[in-house]
């Protein structure tokens, strides 16, 4: 096998997508939107529910669900158990999950060159 480092590049998700997040009870949602339509298949392939669950390990207590919106070049993630009980119960600064959006954009992808 050829040198792996030479065939892959690291790309931060923030270069491929923008995002907005909100809350439903103790669940945060992150809508991840491709900055260009041609980036959408990359998001579908690489930003899986399992990958996002690994990214947020230690920050959420429940599972991650993913939904596809190809019409909007967007993915919607539900992060369960993300908000310390959510709403009024939560002690977190981000009790309503407003900035989980940019936290997801910290994700780094290993993409073929």
């Amino acid at each position: 096998m050829r040198n792996k480092a030479g065939r892959k590049k690291t790309v931060a998700l923030v270069e491929l997508a923008h995002a907005r997040s909100g809350d439903k009870g103790d669940t945060a949602n992150v809508g991840l939107i491709a900055l260009k339509p041609e980036y959408y298949p990359i998001l579908v392939k690489h930003v899986t529910a399992a990958r996002v669950a690994r990214h947020f390990k230690g920050m959420i207590s429940g599972p991650v669900e993913r939904y596809e919106l190809p019409n909007l070049h967007a993915l919607n993630f539900l992060l369960h158990g993300a908000l310390d009980g959510g709403g009024t119960i939560s002690l977190k600064t981000d009790a309503q999950g407003k900035v989980f959006s940019t936290a997801l954009l910290r994700l780094e992808l290993e993409l073929p060159r």
Binding site: A19, F56, N71, N76, G87, L91, R106
Partner: protein
């Protein structure tokens, strides 16, 4: 039969209780609009209003709404702009009465009809419903409401567009409601104007998508927009969104000319995915909207066309939002300065926690955040990975705010916690400031209990009164 209008223009004037006070006035004076839609009710708002009503039976609605209506009523009457607002909270009749007095004071008597939508308040009927076998199980945990029945402070069914349409048909110029869905306030004017049938699911879904797009006010017209945020023009003068709706269910999102902000496909998309669950099943009392069918197109500057929306029949349930007393919480903060700001804040947290333990205080939760280091992105912002991802090296931070929150059913424990913050200024780690706000106050927690109820159990009531 009256002729139907070719289009209808609905302007968003308020995205939540506490939104920009200038927005409603700017929306009704900045150009022609047919309707002004104002959303006031978040999930916990009803319990706050229920408490206000318990203290004074004439209260229990969003008082901001009255002040805003006082300012715009002369314009609204002159230009025949109709208003839909869920500002009535747990006392829509009281709200309408107060507004009628305001209108008479402004010498607008005889020129205005107010519609009042009630029937959403289930608090007086709760025991009857439970006795008849409606368990109102928590949608998240599956537990029956009987678990917390003695602590319930508010219970409201989410009504849809139907009763608002009925009020408009009855000649109301201003419709004041209790817990009507945010989307219903925008959908109702379309149903009324275009005569959409109650089973025209694609049309109802389109109107629901329109409602979702503008229900958070400027959040779809350039506010809180991440994409290209620095180049979004003149947010100081931001234009709130307007829906230009067609009878066939297509609509365009725009804003008044000469205002700031931006209406773009990217910005509208951000709002569409906001607080989204399963996008193929956006459930409201009126229909199920499928957000995976939405097509967006930039048709002009600051104008996005929305088409293609498909819908499915509504369910036979209504969502019910119940508030119940949960316990107490308090949050204390102190600010530590360079050098070693982060280490000092960490040391202060350890000392504080030891003192709480030594006092034998029991909490359901104690949460520490270091604002400036990890409060928003947690461990993702820490260490080498965080520095590469834009985080500053933690030992060089110019300042860090220690933020400690506690939660407990025991008010005395939370009270005692609030007295343990200030002493750290003189008997803890050095270079500390930022305590001018004084001792934190224990806060009552009213938690949210979402449930479903058979639609047949809720009967909306509509009245239209002449001012």
């Amino acid at each position: 039969m009256k002729s139907r209008p070719a289009t209808v223009r609905i302007a968003a004037g308020q995205g939540f209780w506490g939104d920009w006070l200038e927005a409603p006035y700017r929306q009704v004076t900045g150009g022609p609009v047919d309707y002004l839609m104002m959303d006031y009710l978040a999930e916990v708002t009803m319990s706050i209003l229920q408490k206000q009503k318990a203290r004074d039976p004439s209260l229990g609605y969003a008082k901001d709404f009255l002040a805003q209506m006082e300012r715009i009523l002369p314009v609204v009457v002159e230009r025949r702009v109709k208003v839909t607002a869920n500002a009535g909270g747990v006392n829509p009749r009281g709200c309408a009465q107060a507004m009628a007095e305001t209108a008479r004071r402004l010498r607008l008597a005889g020129q205005l009809r107010i519609g009042v939508v009630t029937g959403d308040d289930l608090l007086p009927r709760l025991d009857g419903l439970l006795a008849r076998g409606h368990e109102l199980r928590n949608l998240d945990t599956g537990r029956p409401l009987s678990d917390v029945r003695d602590r319930v402070v508010s219970a409201n069914a989410y009504l849809g567009a139907g009763p608002v349409v009925e009020a408009l048909r009855g000649g109301a110029d201003i419709v004041v409601t209790g817990r009507v869905t945010d989307t219903g306030l925008t959908l109702a004017p379309m149903i009324h104007a275009f005569g959409w049938r109650p089973d025209a699911w694609d049309l109802l879904a389109a109107g629901t998508v329109a409602g979702h797009t503008i229900e958070c006010g400027a959040q779809c017209s350039g506010g809180n927009c991440l994409v290209d945020w620095e180049r979004i023009p003149d947010l100081a003068n931001v234009g709130y969104p307007i829906v230009d709706a067609d009878p066939d269910g297509t609509f365009e999102i725009t804003k008044h000319p000469g205002t700031g902000g931006r209406i773009s496909v990217a910005g509208v998309t951000e709002q569409l995915v906001y607080e989204m669950g399963n996008p193929a099943e956006y459930i409201t009392p009126d229909c199920i909207a499928d957000f995976t069918t939405i097509r967006l197109e930039q048709v002009a500057g600051d104008r996005v066309r929305v088409s293609g929306v498909r819908g499915r029949p509504a369910t036979d349930k209504l969502k019910v939002s119940i508030g119940y007393f949960y316990g107490y919480k308090a949050v204390g903060t102190l600010v530590y300065a360079w050098p070693e700001a982060y280490k000092k804040a960490q040391a202060a947290d350890r000392i504080l926690r030891q003192r709480l333990a030594d006092l034998g205080l029991k909490f359901e939760s104690v949460l520490t955040e270091f604002v400036g280091a990890d409060a928003t992105h947690g461990p993702l912002a820490r260490g080498a990975r965080g520095a590469r991802g834009g985080g500053a090296p933690l030992d060089q931070l110019p300042e860090v705010q220690l933020r400690v929150g506690v939660r407990s059913p025991d008010k005395a424990a939370v009270e005692r916690f609030t007295r343990e913050i200030a002493p750290l200024i003189l008997n803890g780690p050095p270079s500390v400031t930022g305590f001018a706000g004084g001792r934190p106050k224990p806060e009552e927690i009213v938690a949210y209990w979402p449930a479903l109820l058979d639609k047949g159990m809720v009967e909306p009531c509509v009245e239209v009164v002449e001012v």
